[in-house]
């Protein structure tokens, strides 16, 4: 007797098949309906989570920063090398700019006396009475200064400013289409086959109501049905419906079979298709309604299976068209941002608290390919900080109106002049006239980002992009408020800023070429001020609408 290896004995199991219990299909159907809902729910939850996170984060950071602030204030003297020089708003803005540009004078002021001198210089130079707010701060490390100067010794400080920030950027990724083709591999119970898409060997379909229960070779041999009689390989076989059931339509059956035979002879799929369609058109007249429907289904099915290559080409063409058509995208957006100071730097001895602001703008994006895109735009953004418990003297009640003092008038409160002093100076003054208030500083910019965007996820209608780049900003508004009253501008603010940005865009297509997006972002401003600390790091969350074309 012939000897066999164990593999040979089990070789018959290679194509083992067994008909699954009938209830399994209905269970699969149930499962197929569920996931889509889940996906949508997940998407909405993700969007909601992003929104919530974006809104909560600034608040969390704000509250976590507050205790430090209190602690520092209670701690009394603080080391600080910040100097804030506020330039008072005057009717003539050019005068302010003139003052601002005279940085040498402002920065090198070593004492209030010097400042007084400077004041005179300004008056002489500009010909306009100079009203200046100056904050002189004692460097508490310098004990000599503290002792020598009753007020303060302004020390120009070159404080390394740090911040990180969100930059918002919308990204758009073209979506490839192509879904339908592969889904329509098989259409109905009528005979339908492909020698390309599904199996390499012939697959012949008959009207199949039951699966083969016998564990015979099925797929590999491409025999699926008890009705099959045609066994030609590498050919299409359009078998008719069950002839025993549909004997009355024998003419139709014959017609189908002739169709099948034509198809069988032709190896070229496209030719097959043409012939089939042509013949089917002829047959349509003689077919019953049912047959017509079945034939139409066959044709549809055939489109899905027989011409995958053609379909692929079409898909590619379509994709290319989309790429060409939808390379550009324009978005409008608005959002909230919160400026932070990650280094806990201080102004006037107090911690710079976060400050929330709004931002808005437009941007455009150009898709280089499916993954990469570049973008730019214009954005109005505000960088700010709050300094709580800032000590100051007002001129109205200031008992120190000595010639060498340094009172400054405010345009908003003309009757009052302000002298902001640091914590350490406050200790030195020990005056009852020293008041405390909240100092708010806002710098508003018009920014132009330049970003690159990479698509990390793009499926169906949703996409997620990572964006990074840099931006240049022009100062358009500079305001300092003390307890809600504007007292001037920050002289150290740079007219032009630059920084870096990192963001992520979660986008969902709501209608044709229109998308909505949520965009958590962070921005880092490298040089908002010349020589003092300022919140340079900005979190942001933008919401927007994006249209591609």
């Amino acid at each position: 007797m012939k000897k066999h290896k164990i593999e040979d004995i089990f070789s018959s199991m290679e194509d083992f098949s067994s008909v699954p219990p009938p209830e399994l299909w209905s269970q699969i159907e149930e499962k197929l309906d569920k996931p889509k809902k889940k996906k949508r729910v997940v998407l909405w939850w993700s969007a909601a989570a992003c929104l919530l996170l974006g809104l909560l984060l600034p608040s969390i950071l704000h509250f976590t920063a507050s205790p430090e602030n209190i602690k520092i204030n209670n701690g009394g003297l603080e080391n600080s090398n910040n100097s804030v020089v506020l330039d008072k708003k005057t009717n003539d803005n050019s005068n302010n700019r003139n003052l601002d540009q005279n940085k040498n004078i402002g920065k090198t002021a070593d004492s209030l006396n010097h400042n007084s001198t400077r004041k005179n210089q300004f008056s002489t130079e500009s010909g306009i009475p100079v009203q200046e707010t100056s904050v002189a701060e004692t460097n508490s490390k310098n004990g000599t200064n503290k002792k020598d100067s009753k007020y303060s010794t302004p020390t120009p400080a070159n404080v390394p400013n740090q911040s990180v920030a969100f930059q918002n950027y919308s990204s758009y990724e073209d979506k490839s289409i192509a879904k339908s083709s592969s889904k329509s591999i098989l259409g109905n119970n009528n005979s339908k086959a492909s020698n390309k898409g599904i199996t390499e060997e012939r697959i012949a379909f008959g009207k199949q109501t039951k699966f083969n229960s016998a564990p015979k070779k099925q797929l590999s041999n491409s025999i699926f049905d008890e009705q099959l009689t045609v066994k030609n390989n590498k050919n299409l076989a359009f078998n008719s419906v069950n002839s025993s059931v549909n004997k009355s339509s024998s003419a139709n059956t014959n017609a189908y079979n002739s169709n099948a035979s034509i198809a069988r002879k032709n190896e070229n799929i496209r030719t097959d298709k043409a012939v089939i369609i042509k013949d089917d058109l002829k047959l349509n007249n003689s077919l019953s309604k049912t047959d017509s429907v079945q034939l139409a289904e066959l044709q549809n099915l055939e489109k899905g299976i027989l011409a995958p290559e053609k379909q692929k080409e079409e898909e590619e063409k379509k994709n290319n068209l989309i790429d060409k058509k939808e390379r550009w995208a324009v978005a409008v957006f608005a959002g909230v941002a919160s400026s932070e100071n990650t280094k806990n730097e201080k102004t006037l001895g107090n911690v710079n608290d976060s400050k929330q602001s709004n931002s808005f703008g437009v941007k455009t994006k150009y898709s280089i390919n499916k993954k990469w895109a570049v973008g730019s735009g214009l954005k109005i953004n505000e960088l700010g900080q709050s300094v709580a418990n800032v000590s100051y003297l007002t001129a109205k009640s200031n008992a120190f109106f000595a010639p060498d003092s340094y009172p400054v008038a405010s345009s908003n409160a003309p009757a009052q002049d302000y002298l902001l002093i640091s914590n350490s100076t406050k200790e030195a003054l020990k005056s009852e006239n020293v008041q405390t208030g909240k100092l708010d500083q806002n710098l508003r910019y018009i920014e132009m980002p330049l970003e690159v965007s990479y698509s990390i996820f793009n499926k169906n209608k949703a996409s997620i992009n990572l964006n990074t780049g840099g931006f240049v900003g022009k100062l358009i508004s500079n305001n300092v408020n003390l307890d809600g009253h504007s007292i001037g501008e920050n002289m150290n603010a740079n007219d032009y800023v630059y920084g870096s940005t990192l963001s992520s865009t979660v986008q969902y297509r709501v209608y044709k070429k229109t998308n909505v997006f949520v965009e958590p972002a962070m921005n880092y401003y490298i040089n908002p001020l010349n020589s003092q600390s300022f919140n340079q790091f900005q979190w942001g969350l933008n919401f927007g609408l994006n249209v591609s074309f």
């Binding site: 007797m1 012939k2 000897k3 066999h4 290896k5 164990i6 593999e7 040979d8 004995i9 089990f10 070789s11 018959s12 199991m13 290679e14 194509d15 083992f16 098949s17 067994s18 008909v19 699954p20 219990p21 399994l24 299909w25 269970q27 699969i28 159907e29 499962k31 197929l32 996931p35 192509a178 879904k179 592969s182 889904k183 329509s184 591999i185 098989l186 259409g187 109905n188 119970n189 339908k192 390309k196 898409g197 599904i198 199996t199 390499e200 697959i203 379909f205 199949q208 699966f211 083969n212 564990p215 099925q218 797929l219 699926f224 899905g304 995958p308 290559e309 379909q311 692929k312």
Partner: protein
């Protein structure tokens, strides 16, 4: 949607016997095989758009099913069940050539399913899917040695079962 479902049903009708057969070969009991069968079909239909007409559709479906089967087997035994390391001294089994006895497929299926999970998986992949040990090792995240060891042990067990039939028949 309706058309999609009809298409899905057609695919199911065409391929389910073979795919269900695979599930039966990989899973020890029928309930587990049914579960994996359902889940794998759902995955296949969800990912059908990813089929790029490269290779046969049946092959694409089989890959999905086998991946799902292996994933399920791995989950079933939280600890890796491919811990065995090939020991050439003990694991090398001289393959005995057996007389060709006609054995029913049901019986052969029973023998396969009686194998321990780890042996059965490697045996199926090697013998039926024609995978090489390197590919099996990569798929199962085991060493090639372990793959060889598991295959040898599987063969050894099956050999014994076949011989027992032979002895039973001759007796």
């Amino acid at each position: 949607m309706k058309n999609d479902r009809e298409g899905q049903l057609k695919i199911y009708q065409l391929f389910s016997p073979v795919l269900y057969g695979i599930c039966l070969k990989y899973m020890k009991n029928e309930d587990d095989a049914k579960d994996v069968f359902q889940e794998a079909f759902v995955i296949a239909f969800q990912k059908i758009s990813q089929y790029k007409f490269e290779g046969s559709f049946e092959g694409w479906l089989k890959r999905i099913f086998i991946n799902k089967l292996i994933e399920t087997l791995n989950k079933k035994k939280k600890e890796s069940f491919f811990l065995d390391v090939f020991d050439p001294d003990t694991d090398f089994v001289e393959e005995e050539e057996l007389e060709a006895i006609p054995i029913e497929q049901e019986k052969l299926l029973e023998y396969i399913r009686d194998l321990p999970d780890q042996y059965r998986t490697v045996f199926n992949l090697y013998v039926f899917e024609k995978m090489k040990h390197r590919e099996i090792a990569e798929l199962l995240k085991i060493s090639e040695g372990t793959s060889k060891s598991n295959l040898n042990r599987a063969k050894h067990i099956l050999q014994k079962r076949i011989l027992s039939i032979k002895n039973f028949k001759t007796a």
